[in-house]
Each structure stands twice: as structure tokens, then as C-alpha cells.
Amino acid sequence: MAQTLSREQHLDLYYYMRLNRSLEERMVRLFRQSKIVGGLYSSLGQEGISVGTAYALEARDWMAPMIRNIGALLVKGCKPRDIFTQHMAKYTSPTLGKDGTSHFGDLKTKHIVSPISMLGDLIPVLAGVGIAGRYLGQKIVAMTWIGDGGTSTGVFHEGMNFAAVQRAPLVCVVENNQWAYSTPVKRQVPIRNLAERAKSYGIASAIVDGNDVLAVYQAAKDAVERCRAGDGPVMIEAKTHRMRGHAQHDPAEYVPKAMVEYWTAQDPIGRYEKYLTNAGLWNEKKKAEIDARIERELDEDQKFAEESPLPPAELAEQGVFCDGCHEIKARWERPVEEVTPPRCSIEMDGWTVEDFGQLENIETEKMESVAVSKLAPSDQRSENVSGDAKSGVRSGGQKNTGAKSPARHPLRKGKN
């Protein structure tokens, strides 16, 4: 519940959303001054999702952002200078200029995996992170984001299904912002709620008003807790709208004007400011203080970025392979004896086949009167929609045949 957030935390959410927006506004100006290398994507109007979901993570948790998740990076501890320098391709950027935009990460302390451009690829990667974390005894959760369009990729499907089978601690946030580049969601995915897809993986899901940062936070918090408890992946669909073109070069003329107007009124920061005021959680002075702090920080980091050098050309030749530059070490939080012989020969719950298939469960009428109910006539097709249109969470369809009670660690039974 939102009540569980302290005043400070409430203000934190505002801080990050506003920081996200002001940072991006500055980058638009820098883009117009040709100081940004390559494209610039905007998360205008979607700040509540990035910030609300990432705020539900703990420091030990892992995440991987997509192009519109600068807010999540900030919440997870990245600094505006990271974003500025990445976009300006500077030597001081986290990737030293080798990659741009939000394509950076931090394995050691912030636990961030860098995305790649190919949509959907992060899903199995973060599933792997979650499974590895469980194996190491770390009790971490892995979170990543994907767009409505990204759910069409094959790798999204493979990753979600694998995560579901493994009951990996993975939170997948689907940002349904109505568009994938120029393609409206209805031409991308022929269903109303993307969260429907969770059912096809037998996992829990929630649909949430993406422009309500508190609702987003709450759904994410629930999802993270569920994951951490070992209950498997959760998919959160956050409804929102992409308020700018796909990137700076795109005037988005294909978006109906009225649609933009409608969603402008739903601005997540505006709505949240009103809430904070009504709830007496701040006053003008406090707001001014935060805003001033943000400007200060941004001034400083923008200056840092602008004054930073570009990388030296020789860098291009370096680093294809890791030749001893990294020490690779797993952080064990359980005794390694548990996973080394002879103690690791543990049995797995739920592998053995206890039933013989589902023939008994389906209507096997006598052959003579075989009467498979006919396909619904086409004009009744859309009536049968049983989509849960509420903001809320549905339990997945997983049928736990065999298992006595939901195991915390789905791979272990008895023994250790």
C-alpha cells in the first residue's frame, strides 16, 4: 500500500521523475545543438513507470533498462552524468564512448545489465541472472522492461516461457505505450491487454495505470516480493502513452492529435504533484527545494559531460576480449558444499510425470455421438473476451500437479 511509503520516499519518487524529465529536456536541447551523437529517445510521460518499478528494487537486485528507462537507471544509482556522457559519446561515459544511449551497465555494484538494441533479448538474459542468483543463494530479483512492440519478438516468448518453467525471480514490465515506432498496438498484438500473455506462461500478472507512479510502485513491490519468495516470474502491464515520436527524428504525424491531448492531461508528474499537495506531503517551498537541487545536479553533470573529452582513437582497437582485465567471481551466499558432490545430488520437485496426460479431463464422449462443440460463429467472437480489465493482479494458470505446497526453491525438495 502506498501508505507504507514514508514522506521522504514519496518525495524520492517525485525527485526521480522530475530528474528524469529535466534530464531528458536538457538532452533535447543538446540534441538540437548537435551535441548528442546518434539518436535520442524520449520517455516523456512514461517516467512514472521507470521510477515506480525500479523504486521497488533493493540494492542487491538486478535490472536491465530499455531505451525509455532512464528513470530506472537513476533510481538504481546512475548519475545524470552517466546519461549525458553516454549520449555525447564521451570518454568519461560508463562505456568510454564505445556504446551510447542507455547501453551501459554495472556488474559490480549497481547490478545493471546493459541492453542491446535488439528488442526482447534481455528477457532470457535477466531470467539467467535470476536463476544464477537463486543458485548462489542471493535471494535477488531481476527486473526488465519491454514495449508493446517488443512482446512480438520470439526471444520475448522464449525468455518468458523459460523463466516460467524455471520459476525464475523475474519481473517483466511491459510498457504499453500504444505505439511501436509508427505501429499502433492493435496492429502489433491482436489482444486488448498484453498481460493476457502472462497466462500463456502460467505466471502472475498485473495491469496498472502507468501514469500513476504509486500504483506502479505498488504493483512492482508486490511483484518483487512474490519473486523474492520464490513464486516465479510476474508480468506487469503498465498502460501509458509515448508522448513524442519514436525518437527525435520522428514527428509522429501518425498519432492522432486528440490522443496526445488526452494523454497530456494524464501526465504522471502533474498528477503526482497534485497528489503530493492534496496529501499534504509537501509545500511550494519543498518542491522548489527539490527542483533547485535537480537543476544544480544537472548543471554540474551537464557541464562535466560537455567538458569531457571524446575517447582517443586507439581505444577502438582495445577490449574485444577479456585478457585478464576482469576477475570473475561469483558471490556465494550459500555454502558451496550444497552444490558440490556428494551433496548436490538433490532431487527436483515436479519433474516426475505423475499424470498420463489430460485425456480424462477433456470431454471424451462416446464415439457414436461425437459432438465437439462447434466453433463460435464469427460474429460472437468478440463477446467471449474474458479479459480482466481491472487494475489488479491475476494469478497465473500454473497447475502445480504433484507438489504438496509451493516450494520456496522450486528446484529443491527435502534434503538440505
Binding site: 535488439m118 512480438s152 511501436a180 515506432y181 581505444l315 582497437e317 574485444v320
Partner: protein, 324 residues
């Protein structure tokens, strides 16, 4: 006729072929209302309608798969990859379904896969791919990589009419940077034929796509130094025009290959081996390569500049070879 860009030349090829043959359809992401990420298909929706300019979800394997299916029905689909980098997501369909179809069971696949390729525009590691060798190395595919608007139009028309799957690479650096007047009437440029862009006597430079322009510029400057370089534009990488290559090597006795693809496993190696096999005695010096680095394509301008071969790199190698 006004000079046109490569984008416009490609659009003309698509439009003319669609007019000529109702079996030609387009399929890809954001190609209809939006006209494609690089606006190559702009206006074609209005001309040819929704059934022939088919927008898809973000599903490269479905795009390639559906295109194969369409081609089995006698259509000639032209599939667009928003960036050619994303063809990696349909690699299995391309190399296993598409490429092997005719050989395995005699089912021709008259389709074209096209998309923006190459670097030099700070696209970074995922928007700068030169994937030609993945596909040239796959028996059953043809690979085209033009360097001029004229060739782009003529080769795309040939590709569409070809009964085999053709990967048609469009260098995005060239999309709008060069213009050329095109002939009034209809014309095609045959697949599998290289062209000598510049005659020369001292050495042969083989290149294609953006690097063809780099090579030509280097050749001009070399001429000022008294080195006469012949420049060959491959245009089609698979099938390779061995005749044109060998004829030139026999004439100049020295060969330099320039490509933007990464070095190891690039087409320069293939050409070197082919020339060794067929014209070893004609060689008066070691075959040389000027290529990109064996790294991903870096993002920051100074890094990408170091990554890509430049005119000075070509000149240096050519000078050395000429003096050999």
C-alpha cells in the same frame, strides 16, 4: 532528369516493379503509413494499398518466414529489415529455410531481403552492420551491395526478377549523400557482374558499397602521385565476378582489397584465395587488405573513424604495394 539519391532510386525500383508485376509485394516493420525508418517505401502505400505494403509486428523471423511462404505461392516479396542488423534475428530462417529450399526440394524462393547497412553515421554496434559474409558464406543466397543510385535501382530490379533469394544491402551512408541522374526508360543491372570504375595500370583495388567511394578518392589522389590504380566495384558479392577480377589482376599484377566489413573472414580472404588459385603467377606482390578493425562497431566518432578504413589507409597500402 533531376539527379536522385540512392533512397529515391531504390524507391523507384520498388514502385516500377510493383507496377509491372502484381506479384511483387512489400513486407516489413513500419513500411506502410510511416514509409520505413529511412523513408524508402514512402508513398508506396498510397499507390499500392495495404495488401501490397504489409506492415508487420516486430518479428523478423515472421517477416522472413512469411516472405518465403508468399514466394511459394508465386509472389515476389521484398522484405525490409528496419536495420539490416536485425536480420540476425531471422538468421535461422534465412540460412536454413530460405537458402536451402531450392537445393533440397526444388522450391525456388524468389524473394529479396533489403535494408540499411554499414557504418559511418555513428549508429553504434547494432545499427552499422555489414553482414555480407554471413550470407555470402551460405550456399543458396545471392548478395548485392551497390555503391551508386544507378546501380541500386538496376540491381534491385534484377534482384526482384531473379528466381532466387537475394540479400540486397543498402549502405545508409550513401542513402542521401550522393546523387545521380538516372536514364528515362527502364533499365536493369545484371547480378553477378562487377564493374571497372576506373582504369589503371599499377595495381587493382577491389571494393564495393561505401568503400568504393573511399577507394576511388584514394585512386584519384594516387594518380597525382603517379600511381595508376584500377578500381573495381564488385556490386554483387555472391556470385562473385571472378572474370572481371582476374582480368584486372592479370593486367596490373597487384591486388588490394578494401572493405568495410571486419577483417577476419571478410570477403578479401575469399578473393585472395580465388586469385591465388587462378592467377598466382600473375601476382607481382602480396595481395593486401584494407578493412575495418576486428571489433564491434564503436559509437563515438573518433572510435568509429579509427574503426573504418579511410582514404589515407587505402593510399598507404596502395603505395606500398605499388612500390613492392
Amino acid at each position: 532528369m533531376a539527379a536522385v539519391t540512392m533512397v529515391e532510386a531504390i524507391r523507384q525500383a520498388l514502385s516500377e516493379e510493383m507496377e509491372r508485376d502484381p506479384a511483387v509485394v512489400l513486407i516489413g516493420e513500419d513500411i506502410s503509413v510511416y514509409g520505413g525508418a529511412f523513408k524508402v517505401t514512402e508513398g508506396l502505400l498510397n499507390k499500392f494499398g495495404w495488401e501490397r505494403v504489409i506492415d508487420t509486428p516486430i518479428s523478423e523471423s515472421a517477416i522472413i518466414g512469411a516472405a518465403v511462404g508468399m514466394s511459394y505461392m508465386g509472389l515476389r516479396p521484398v522484405a525490409e529489415m528496419q536495420f539490416i542488423d536485425f536480420l540476425a534475428c531471422a538468421f535461422n530462417q534465412m540460412t536454413n529455410f530460405v537458402a536451402k529450399s531450392h537445393y533440397r526440394w526444388g522450391a525456388p524462393v524468389p524473394m529479396v531481403v533489403r535494408g540499411p547497412s554499414g557504418g559511418g553515421v555513428h549508429g553504434g554496434p547494432f545499427h552499422s552492420a555489414n553482414p555480407e559474409m554471413y550470407y555470402a558464406h551460405t550456399p543458396g543466397l545471392k548478395v548485392v551491395y551497390p555503391s551508386t543510385p544507378y546501380d541500386a535501382k538496376g540491381l534491385l530490379k534484377s534482384a526482384i526478377r531473379d528466381n532466387n533469394p537475394v540479400l540486397f544491402l543498402e549502405h545508409k551512408f550513401l542513402y542521401r549523400r550522393i546523387k545521380e541522374e538516372l536514364p528515362e526508360g527502364e533499365y536493369t543491372v545484371p547480378l553477378g557482374k562487377a564493374i571497372v570504375r576506373r582504369e589503371g595500370a599499377d595495381l587493382t583495388i577491389i571494393s564495393y558499397a561505401a568503400m568504393m567511394h573511399t577507394s576511388l578518392e584514394a585512386a584519384e589522389k594516387l594518380a597525382a602521385e603517379g600511381i595508376s590504380a584500377e578500381v573495381i566495384d564488385l556490386r554483387t558479392l555472391m556470385p562473385l565476378d571472378k572474370e572481371t577480377i582476374l582480368a584486372s589482376v592479370k593486367k596490373t599484377s597487384k591486388l588490394l582489397i578494401v572493405h568495410e566489413d571486419t577483417r577476419t573472414g571478410g570477403i578479401a580472404g575469399e578473393i585472395a584465395a580465388m586469385v591465388c588459385e587462378n592467377a598466382f603467377e600473375d601476382l607481382d606482390g602480396p595481395i593486401q587488405r584494407v578493412t575495418s578493425l576486428d571489433t564491434p562497431v564503436p559509437y563515438s566518432p573518433p572510435l568509429e573513424e579509427r574503426f573504418l578504413p579511410g582514404v589515407p589507409d587505402v593510399m598507404r597500402a596502395a603505395r606500398e604495394l605499388a612500390q613492392y
